[in-house]
């Protein structure tokens, strides 16, 4: 039964210790300027022992030589230089003391021995920090600047580490230290192996240094590892470019696929297509605004709610355009082109009048924010979802066209209007539905594009030339051609970019398409045959 009092006592001691620590950080800092370098080293060790987050900052500022004492009030402050003037803020509270007159403060001096102590203290604090992210950052920083004083620290930290990612980073830091600071041949070869597996530019830099190691075995292993890393990097670079290309391709596909229906299937040039995309994007904006103000909890669902609405809004406008204008112009494609251009101007101005001329902010739901690493390439979630979305839209469209009654009627009307009419198909209704479908898909594209592009009244204009190029390149009348066209143009663009820069890449792709169309006027997947020329 004597256990209880002892427990109580130790609890009380802990409590006292923590309170004391909290009090003493202030005190410790205020005593920092006093005494000689040895006294200061002792205080540094005590500051480190507090484990306080602010202590880390104190030490870092001290190490950088920016810790000073104000003559006016004796406060220990951090000095920041702006031009020729010094500004001071309290090192612990952050309170701003404004500009310091020259000679109005004195520096807390450090010498080399003290610097080493401070570094060790910082290393200990960060390498054993409760937050794994901080530990990881510390390990990475140790990797970049190998320090003989820290080798032991790193080894201890590695032994105590539980997080596998941090442990890996620590092992790499130790390996870098071994190569930079020396070790036995076996140790060095082990370190080379660790860095070879690490395989990024940092590892390559360290290994390039080791390739001149006096020990031939180590030098050869390092040179081989550098070569290996370069090869892997090229492969990953290729993969990254393919990914960027697929990502751009999915955007092009979304923008062009609705056009593939109106232009490819119906032969109608809809220059207002880009504006229908824009309407989809603005629908997303409006839905998010409504959610923000009324049901903030639903924000992550905003895109799922916006998608059907955007389809209906753009589709409805599309049906109105078809019934109101386009149907009077069938068989006159050039006139259709002009009339729909006029509509596009009016739609732009309409949106500008309602929503204003500036960019509108459309937020990313949480599942579309951020990125993840795949090997050595970075994949952002929003791009990945857009690719998935584009392929899904494509699949659904394919299904609608090939397997549903309305799809059958659409194809019938396209192929032989008079015959279809004789068989009782309401061709006018089918025209409106087909145009509406193409327009609705443009609206869906707008939902996706709102996630990666500026939502402004000019949104559609920036896609119209590109999407026509995709349809024409792929071959009008063939939505598989649109798929192939979108992805091949996307990838071609992204592979040219590193060589030529983005704008020139785009110009080259345009020039290529212009030349290509002259070679194959009906596109990549042309429907060839005798009937085509008619």
């Amino acid at each position: 039964m004597r256990l209880l009092p002892r427990l109580l006592l130790s609890f009380a001691l802990c409590l006292w210790a923590s309170i004391a620590a909290a009090q003493t950080l202030e005190e410790l800092v205020s005593t920092l300027p006093d005494g000689n370098y040895d006294d200061r080293a002792a205080v540094v060790a005590q500051i480190a022992a507090t484990g306080d987050d602010r202590a880390l900052k104190v030490l870092e500022v001290l190490l950088a030589g920016d810790l000073e004492v104000l003559d006016s009030n004796g406060r220990v402050v951090q000095i920041r230089k702006q031009g020729r003037d010094d500004f001071a803020s309290d090192i612990l509270t952050g309170e701003d003391y404004g500009e310091v007159p020259s000679r109005g403060s004195s520096k807390v001096r450090v010498n080399n021995s003290l610097r080493r102590d401070i570094r060790t203290a910082i290393g200990t604090m960060t390498l054993r920090h409760p937050d794994p992210a901080r530990r990881l950052a510390a390990a990475e920083s140790a990797f970049r600047s190998p320090d003989p004083d820290q080798s032991e620290l790193l080894a201890e930290a590695l032994a105590a580490e539980t997080d596998p990612k941090v442990a890996e980073a620590l092992a790499e830091a130790i390996a870098a230290g071994t190569l930079a600071l020396g070790g036995s041949e076996a140790e060095k070869l082990g370190a080379v192996a660790v860095l070879r597996a690490m395989g990024n530019t940092d590892a390559k830099t360290v290994l390039s240094g080791a390739a001149t190691d006096p020990d031939a075995a180590v030098a050869d292993a390092a040179a081989e590892a550098v070569h290996h890393i370069e090869q892997m990097q090229n492969l990953w670079g290729l993969a990254q470019n393919v990914w960027f290309g697929l990502s751009l391709g999915s955007v092009l596909l979304l923008a062009a696929i609705g056009l593939a229906i109106t232009f490819g299937v119906m032969g109608v040039i809809n220059m207002a297509h880009g504006e229908l995309v824009m309407l989809g994007a603005y629908t997303t904006f409006a839905v998010q605004e409504a959610i923000r103000s009324s049901f903030p909890a639903l924000f992550d669902w905003s895109l799922l709610i916006a998608a059907p609405l955007a389809f209906l809004v753009a589709g409805g406008v599309g049906v109105a355009i078809e019934r109101g204008v386009v149907r009077f112009l069938y068989g006159r494609p050039l006139e259709t082109l002009l009339a729909t251009w006029g509509i596009s101007l009016a739609l732009q101005q309409l949106v500008r009048t309602i929503f204003g001329p500036n960019n509108r902010e459309v937020g990313n739901p949480s599942f579309m924010s951020g990125a993840f690493e795949l090997g050595q390439m970075t994949v952002t979630w929003n791009r990945l979802w857009i690719l998935v979305f584009a392929l899904a839209v494509f699949a659904v469209l394919l299904f609608v066209l090939k397997k549903t009654p309305i799809g059958l009627q659409m194809r019938a009307v396209t192929q032989n209007r008079a015959m279809a009419a004789n068989m009782g198909i309401r061709t006018g209704w089918v025209d409106a539905m087909t145009f509406g479908l193409g327009a609705g898909i443009a609206g869906l594209a707008g939902v996706a594009l709102s996630q990666i592009d500026n939502v402004s009244p000019n949104l559609g204009q920036s896609y119209i030339v590109d999407s026509f190029m995709v349809v024409v390149f792929g071959g009008a009348g063939n939505i598989w051609g649109t798929l192939a066209g979108a992805f091949s143009l996307g990838i071609a663009n992204k592979f040219l970019e590193p060589w030529t820069g983005a704008v020139l890449a785009k110009i080259l792709v345009l020039v290529f398409i212009i030349l290509f169309i002259q070679k194959r006027p009906r596109g990549l997947f042309a429907v060839r045959g005798r009937a085509v020329d008619a």
């Binding site: 006029g342 030339v465 345009l510 398409i513 212009i514």
Partner: protein, 367 residues
């Protein structure tokens, strides 16, 4: 020559002559200056647009080639003239460099790019005003027409052409002043561009160029070649089968039209004082098409009239109801294509009850 001037052409040329005399007189010679200087520049700009519209009508109205990239030829002519005007600034620029235009000094360039050489000579610049748009039209047309790219496909790739050029000219590395284009011109052939007399002179030149453009276009369309062009527009395949190399005819008229557009651009630049890559934008080129459609395609005079009507409307609208202009323009596109297939000129002439030849293409369109 006189045989080319039919009634509508006569009326238009007479009006143009009156304008070319009255506007400079009202600006320079009359007390109280009833025609302010800015109006002279504005009207001069309209005349350049009218010439551009005539150029487009030549290919679209008569040969059925709907170019959505004619703005590119206009802009290239403008750039050729702008390059000369830049060279003429000489050492009077901000950086006072006798050879390099300001923007090149700003970009840290040490010497003039090779393609700027010669532009200090006015004659060379004039030649380039014709040759550069002509050469682009020749190369582009040679590929396109030989491969029998027609209809909307041709329209779309002409649009891509001007779009690609716009992107290219936006680049500083191209050496044409990038985003800002060429501007801050001082004088032309020693005459200050700020002087009223110079502006009036440019106005008269524009009127002369428009009249000449109309007569050249009229001469071409009245010849047997003009009949072949119409034949190509109405039944291209039939024209081939009676032995005409359609691509050669298209190429000829396309190049002539591009040169005409280049001249229009060259006259436009000194009057507005700037040329930038925005002139290449696809929207500008489609704008030209609506001028021609509104005025009445295949009529030449109508195209010029359409350009002037739309431009005047744009000036008035954008100063009175700026936010309504795009609605009006958009509505105009729809209205003209659906209700006015023969354009304003067709409407006026049928109202006047004249038994004119049925407007080109109108009959087919309704069939």
């Amino acid at each position: 020559m006189l045989s080319l001037i039919d009634r509508r052409m006569g009326i238009f040329l007479a009006g143009l002559f009156v304008l070319a005399v009255a506007v400079p007189a009202g600006n320079l010679a009359m007390a109280g200056q009833p025609v302010p200087s800015y109006i002279v520049a504005l009207l001069g700009k309209y005349l350049c647009y009218a010439l551009l519209a005539v150029a487009l009508d030549l290919v679209w109205g008569y040969c059925g080639i709907l170019s959505l990239g004619h703005g590119a030829f206009f802009a290239l002519g403008g750039y050729a003239m702008g390059m000369h005007l830049m060279r003429e600034i000489g050492a009077r620029g901000v950086y006072a460099n006798p050879d390099l235009p300001d923007f090149m000094v700003f970009l840290g360039w040490k010497e003039l790019p090779w393609f700027w050489t010669g532009f200090d000579m006015f004659g060379f610049a004039l030649l380039m005003v014709l040759l550069v748009p002509g050469a682009l039209a020749f190369v582009f047309g040679w590929f396109a027409f030989r491969s029998r790219v027609t209809g909307v496909y041709l329209s779309i790739i002409t649009q891509a052409m001007t779009y690609a050029l716009m992107l290219a000219f936006f680049r500083n590395e191209m050496g044409f002043g990038g985003n800002n284009g060429l501007t801050d011109f001082k004088d032309v052939l020693g005459f200050s561009l700020q002087a009223d007399a110079t502006r009036a002179g440019l106005f008269v030149l524009s009127a002369i160029a428009l009249a000449a453009g109309l007569l050249v276009a009229k001469a071409i369309t009245s010849s047997k070649l003009g009949k072949v062009l119409i034949a190509i527009r109405d039944a291209e395949s039939r024209t081939r089968f009676i032995g005409y190399r359609v691509e050669e005819y298209k190429l000829f008229v396309f190049v002539v039209s591009a040169m005409m557009a280049g001249v229009a651009g060259a006259l436009y630049v000194p009057q507005v004082g700037i040329i930038n890559p925005g002139e290449f934008s696809p929207a500008n080129s489609i704008g030209i098409v609506i001028w021609v459609a509104l005025g009445g395609r295949g009529t030449l005079v109508g195209a010029a009239l359409g350009a002037i009507i739309v431009s005047v409307a744009q000036t008035l609208f954008t100063s009175w109801f700026p936010e309504l202009w795009l609605f009006a323009l958009g509505g105009l596109f729809v209205f003209v294509t659906i209700f006015l297939p023969t354009g304003v000129l067709g409407l006026i002439e049928s109202r006047l009850g004249r038994k004119a030849k049925p407007p080109a293409g109108a009959k087919e369109a309704s069939a």
